[in-house]
Symmetry: C2
Subunit: 336 residues, 2 copies
DNA sequence: TATTTTTTTGCATTCGAAGTCATTGTTAAT
DNA sequence: ATTAACAATGACTTCGAATGCAAAAAAATA
């Protein structure tokens, strides 16, 4: 009931015997005020429990200090972790993260409108599927965007990503040099850009090495889908020498399916590789050969690029590609 | 350069030949305007690309439509998942999530000030350590709070949590009835309230069953810490019949340590139980006996309670305790 | 048709801090 | 002492939408 009325800069000004402008200046870094008033104002402000109202400040400065982070609901398993890191990194720069989830791609326009109404300083999109049109929409409003793990080379967009090409080729090289002669690709869902990219790279590189028409089955990045995808394939087909999975979690599913239901050994009977380098990949029971995404560097790069565009809106678009680290595990071994 | 100027309600008003108030009312649900003006305004607004400025609206209405979510950096492994769910649930109610991370407990005051500055409608705190004093601070500002998995019975706070007591007693009952006669507790970090609660419950219940002074070793919730904690213990002590871990991830670490370095079998040589019911707990290689937290129901309850307090600030404080589901896995089996 | 009731409407003000501009006070230079 | 240069200050306006109030218009009643 007795909703305590907010203490405003006017209240402090009156109490301290100065003008409202003076109070404002004291709380604005880089604005001048004599030591005497500064001291006085800070003292009174503290006593009265005054804090500048962020909303009012946003309105007048046209700067919210808010970064919108869009996470697609079809998000990769390790995005939650990325999100925490992003938040930490952004908080350290005195900005805040406003979260948005993107369910289906068709309400993206609406989402962007909504983002715009918050006057956010910038946007980081985690693997959401962005049309070029949407990017332009944000560009029109002068809102810088950084795409995370979403390379849109044709568009003039800022982006950071882990080099899927480099990583997958490294994994395949290991298998190829280890005399694996037949392959199966277990891809992530078809509506995931990352999954599509990883699958295409693998498929093409295998063709280049002389294994054309490598079979592909689809999962949804989950453990169960990895198991099912493999089981489905083996029902009517022979065991390949190696299984290339679009992520670690499906690779773990594949390994468990091979061990439990097929009574086969990994890596003795078949090699399995994953991608991402999630922590479970290194657990004793799996020890997957995989590519570890440099998550920290990726998020750092994303935030760095974004902040640069916020401070200097005319910086040209930049794409930063980081190379993941090959983890040579025990889920692969040379054949014959 | 040519920073497109924002379209304001005045612009729309002028173009549509009505007053600014009329435009405002058209965009405010539940306010009256004749069909004629409504139609006209909407048409013009659409044509000009007008959307009400959320910041200005917040300032005048004193309502931000923003929910602050505080995640402690010492967060339990499955909080990222909780966070996604919370965000989804809150978005569905047309509110937004503003993320805050809490590093050390001493800057909580500052964090709360900062939260207050944003005029958030409510706060959800994920397992952050909250003093009663902090809760009062928010209460003074009339900001409702819901604590997630943080039961503060003495304080007049809203909270939701999974019944650790019920869950842990169930797990211990299984072990006790399965003739396990010596125990080891592997607890989460001492600065985690949840870990402390789980440990205390286990310890006291074991005492009650006649196993006083059950040894306790500490980890930090991580896989490695589970392995290390067990290894450290076994260096100078005998193998217990059962190991009770504060979470699944440490239980997985314990199992791997037993298998890899001790060459022991789980559950033949020793039983292991966890807590949380994370997805990895059910993987073939582990199949941990554990308690699955009803995450979805918990987040739903948290959001429900919060929304209720926002709409009706005088609702009395409420604590909702949900019971987790026992998952009888293969990491335990009766002795002798 | 006259009158009452109800619905629409616009004017003016409000939210709270920031910034513009002109003025005053202070210090440095001549 | 006198001017120039500069720092500090307050009065006033701004950001953009919401809303109390009174006037106007429309609808309902007599």
């Amino acid at each position: 009931m007795s909703r305590k009325k907010r203490v405003t800069s006017y209240d402090v000004a009156r109490e301290a015997g100065v003008s409202q402008s003076a109070v404002s200046r004291v709380f604005r870094p880089g604005f001048s005020a004599s030591d005497k008033t500064r001291e006085k104002v800070l003292e009174v402000a503290k006593r009265m429990g005054y804090k500048p109202n962020a909303i009012a400040r946003m309105l007048i400065t046209q700067q919210s200090g808010i970064i919108a982070v869009i996470v697609s609901s079809r998000a990769n398993v390790n995005y939650p972790e990325v999100l925490s890191q992003l938040n930490k990194s952004i908080s350290q720069r005195q900005k805040r993260v406003l979260l948005f989830t993107l369910d289906s791609s068709d309400d993206l326009d609406e989402l962007l409108e909504s983002i715009w109404t918050f006057q956010v300083d910038g946007v980081i999109a985690l693997a959401a599927h962005f049309e070029e049109r949407s990017l332009e929409q944000l560009a029109q409003h002068n809102i810088p965007v950084v795409l995370y793990n979403r390379n849109v080379p044709e568009a003039n967009a800022n982006s950071v990503c882990c080099s899927h090409e480099r990583g997958i080729k490294q994994l395949i090289d290991i298998l190829h040099e280890g005399n694996h002669r037949s392959y199966l690709i277990i891809s992530g869902p078809e509506d995931s850009d990352v999954a599509n990219e990883r699958r295409e790279i693998a498929s093409q590189y295998l063709t280049q090495l002389g294994y054309s028409d490598t079979p592909i089955v689809y999962g949804d990045y989950s453990y169960e889908s990895g198991r099912e995808a493999l089981a489905r394939w083996l029902k009517n087909n022979n065991l390949p020498d190696a299984v290339i999975c679009s992520n670690d979690i499906m690779a773990i599913g594949v390994i468990d399916e091979l061990r439990e239901n097929m009574k086969l050994s990994v890596p003795d009977d078949v090699s399995v590789v994953g991608f991402d380098g999630v922590s479970a990949a290194s657990w004793y029971s799996y020890q997957i050969t995989t590519i570890r995404q440099p998550l920290e560097q990726l998020t750092k790069a994303a935030v760095d690029i974004l902040m640069e565009r916020i401070e200097n809106p005319d910086s040209p678009p930049e794409t930063r590609v980081l190379v993941g680290k090959l983890i040579a595990g025990n889920s692969t071994k040379p054949r014959g």
